[in-house]
Amino acid sequence: MIRHFQYKKVCAGRDYLQEHYKDEFSLSKVAEHSCMSQYHFSRVFTSVFGESPNAFVARLRIEKAKQLLVTEGSSISEICTEVGYSSIGSFSSLFSEKVGMSPSQYRRQLSSLANEPHRFPMQSIPLCFAQNLFGFKANEPKK
């Protein structure tokens, strides 16, 4: 069982990673920030959050990239750098692995569904909320 102080420590590390996700990943830095050994930090972090610190950073980067692909007009390579990757090849293959399509396909697909540029289409959130909160009609043709 994870104790309160350990939870607080890994939360501090998680906050640190969130702030520095664009930087080169360093387990030693984040462990030091949390006042834990690398091994212990990694083990407790994974046990509490269900993913390793490295996987957490990768997920943050991909989520940020997904957002930028829709809301910004920047090129894929600019977005790759923006979220902390130096190699577009690694970025694209990780993106494809996690999202199920390449960054450019993702951008194309969401842009084709949205009515306005740089906005998320209603199809990107659960339909019940899109309908009830925002009045979206599933079968309505794109305006």
Binding site: M1, I2, R3, H4, Y7, C11, R14, Q18, V48, F49, G50, Q67, T71, A114, N115, E116, R119, F120, P121, M122, S124, I125, P126, F129, A130, Q131, N132, L133, F134, G135, F136
Partner: protein, 137 residues
């Protein structure tokens, strides 16, 4: 078979203020903060250790769900504390309570021993109540 709950709606009076409260006071993380078609804001937060359950912070507004009168009534009920977010689990109710009190979170009941554990009752900055519970059985 239903395997879990992914999204739960929490009506809030102001999305910006609710976002600050849930992230800076309660320590939640932002799940999604997206501007949708039509300028609508889709805003979700989640507890760090439970990323698959997102709270949808939604403002009751005139729209497909509510007419103007109903939206106002819902807002009044939220502010009056008629609705609850649910139970937030903690491994140490007193410690978490102390931390939240220090951050200015309002509580209506301090940690109190119950049959099932130790429970405190708090309110978010819209007026929704929540329970902070350390389960012992």
């Amino acid at each position: 078979m239903i395997q879990g709950i992914a999204h739960v709606t929490v009506h809030v009076l102001d999305q910006d203020e609710a976002l600050t409260f849930y992230t800076e006071k309660l320590g939640f993380e932002v799940g999604m903060d997206m501007t949708m078609d039509g300028g609508f804001r889709w805003l979700t937060v989640f507890a760090k250790a439970q990323p698959k359950l997102e709270l949808v912070l939604a403002e009751p507004k005139e729209g497909p769900m509510f007419d103007k009168d109903s939206a106002e009534k819902i807002r009044d009920l939220v502010a009056a504390g008629a609705f609850g977010v649910g139970v937030f689990e903690t491994d140490d109710c007193q410690k978490t309570y102390d931390e939240l009190i220090a951050k200015g979170v309002e509580f209506t009941q301090p940690p109190t021993e119950q049959f099932y554990g130790i429970e405190a009752l708090g309110k978010d900055n819209s007026g929704n109540w929540f329970s902070l519970t350390q389960q012992t059985v």
